[in-house]
Amino acid sequence: MAIIEIENLTKTYRVYQKREGLVAAIRGLWHREYRDVYAVRGINLTVEQGEFVAFLGPNGAGKTTTLKLLSGVIYPTSGTARVMGFVPWERHNEYRRRFALVMGQKNQLWWDLPAQESYRLHQQIYRIPPEDFQRRLDELSELLRVRELLGRPVRELSLGERMKMELIAALLHAPDVLFLDEPTIGLDVVAQHNIQEFLKFYQRERRITILLTSHYMQDVEALCKRVVVINDGVIQFDGSLDEIVDSFSGYRVVRLHLAEGQSAEGLARLAEVESIELPRVTLRCPRGEVARVLARVLEDYRIVDLSVEDPPLEETIARLYENARGENRQSLAAATEA
């Protein structure tokens, strides 16, 4: 059963220059300059129960807007969406009790209070039965290893600890759908890893549906089988990580360790040279040509070691974005010409 169904979802903002101050604001009442900005344009997406989906995209691509639409924080300009059968922006209490949103850059816990006080408030607002509340709190704080921090004011916690506390807050009412907006932003590698591990475990145990946005590739590689790439408000790609690599990186990286005294002269004629730091040379060559290039290299040069790798995922994705931007510009140009 599809748990999230999105059809033709579009969100445009009418932007005008907001100015500070009453005088400017009053002046603004008479003449305002509007400009339509597309945040999301005509997105179609279906997510099944129990999927863990990553939204990838550069800043301003529309990832966060999509999550906000799905959590009912903002209204769409057009299109429909249903999550567990609810229209999010109608904000039914039943719906709001069944999902949670975590934003890495904003915190909802009371800053000066220990996290457990905020949790107690959640218990009241979400009407969580006391025994469920205690059991979940125990489980979650155990899993995230923050039990002894529950009584400490949030402002005294590190960024990673705070994020864990935010996650607990989001999961106390046992949501069926979880939206995570850049949950690992700004965290160090260890904290990032901990949170990934937790999310992986929790999602597998509970079979809940998670939508995650991030621009950290590690998050995506660690957690999600399915990746949706959004750029300029349009879905550019929807599939598995491997597919991305296959279809968007048309080349491989060949690293050579040349023997002593061997010059790198002439290599540029065989393949594109990415860097030369003798005795190391890095080449890029199209997938179909790897064998031919390697044969020539081995024949003409003295080599100590060599390796053939896929390009880093970041680079592939960056290419994907760039491609997309180019296409959009072209289609935009076509549209304005027509």
Binding site: G21, L22, V23, A24
Partner: protein
């Protein structure tokens, strides 16, 4: 510092002044409206005193006098005390200074060849210049609308006395606030102290009511404090409450206060810096 010639110094100060002025003028629209709105409480004051004079005089508002003030004098007093406050009030000065001390921003005055007090004073002068350039409109408008509350046009020496009183009020207000801010060298939290000081200032400067209404003993006591020069004194000069022969005497006393407060600020600053450097910032 000793080797810097006077013209160079002057040009440095001039640059600081111009920069601060430009920064201030960026907000001129809000300034004008904000100044105009600041006169709104005067309206309730007028009605309050109207009712008080009414009751005190048994209905004869025009001929009633309280502590020598007619109803019209009273309204004029409040308007004029606003003018005094426009010179003597230093919004944000003490809190900025104590914050700079607390957060170590003061280091920049230790590193750069600038005197902090001079720098702040110049910034304030720029702030006030910008303020007057814009506030003169609202002030002129309100004073014109309330023109018939004011007594007849006074003599030249009253104008001169008032002008001096306003300039002194500015300087006195600046250095008093600065002293409070500099206490931040000794106490981390000065905001509560500041609040109490502001309340006292509000009450004792005559901003809340003409000090002449106070019972004689208290009137005399308040006369021994510097606060009355911040709002009461300039207004009282204009309204002829200060006899002509005592005008210069009072201005002289005010000048003495000014010298004392400047000296106090200098001492606090020097001692504070010593303490600050001693603790290693």
């Amino acid at each position: 510092m000793g080797t810097v010639t006077l013209p160079t110094k002057a040009s440095i100060w001039w640059t600081i002044y111009r920069t601060a002025l430009a920064e201030r003028l960026a907000y001129r629209g809000d300034f004008a409206l904000g100044t105009l709105m600041r006169f709104l409480p005067i309206i309730t004051q007028i009605f309050l005193w109207w009712a008080i004079f009414d009751a005190a005089g048994g209905g004869a508002v025009g001929s009633t006098r309280l502590a020598g003030y007619s109803f019209h004098d009273m309204v004029a007093y409040y308007l004029l005390s606003m003018l005094g406050r426009a010179f003597s009030s230093m919004p944000g000065l003490a809190s900025t200074v104590s914050k700079q001390i607390r957060e170590g921003e003061i280091n920049r005055y230790l590193i750069q060849p600038i005197d902090m007090i001079g720098f702040l004073l110049l910034g304030r002068v720029a702030h006030k210049t910008a303020y007057y350039a814009i506030a003169i409109g609202p002030f002129a408008l309100v004073f014109f609308l309330c023109g018939n509350y004011f007594p007849a046009w006074p003599e030249v020496d009253v104008w001169v006395g008032m002008f001096l009183a306003l300039v002194f009020a500015f300087l006195l207000g600046f250095f008093l606030d600065l002293c409070i801010g500099l206490i931040g060298f000794w106490f981390l939290e000065v905001s509560s102290l500041l609040f109490v000081y502001m309340l006292l200032n509000f009450f004792l400067s005559g901003h809340m009511f003409p000090l002449d209404l106070l019972p004689p003993f208290w009137r005399q006591a308040v006369g021994y404090l510097p606060f009355q020069y911040l709002a009461y004194f300039p207004a009282a000069i204009y309204l002829g409450k200060i006899p002509a022969d005592q005008l210069w005497y009072h201005l002289g006393i005010e000048a003495c206060w000014l010298v004392a407060v400047i000296a106090a600020a200098r001492v606090l600053y020097a001692r504070g810096l010593k303490r600050y450097s001693g603790f290693g910032g």
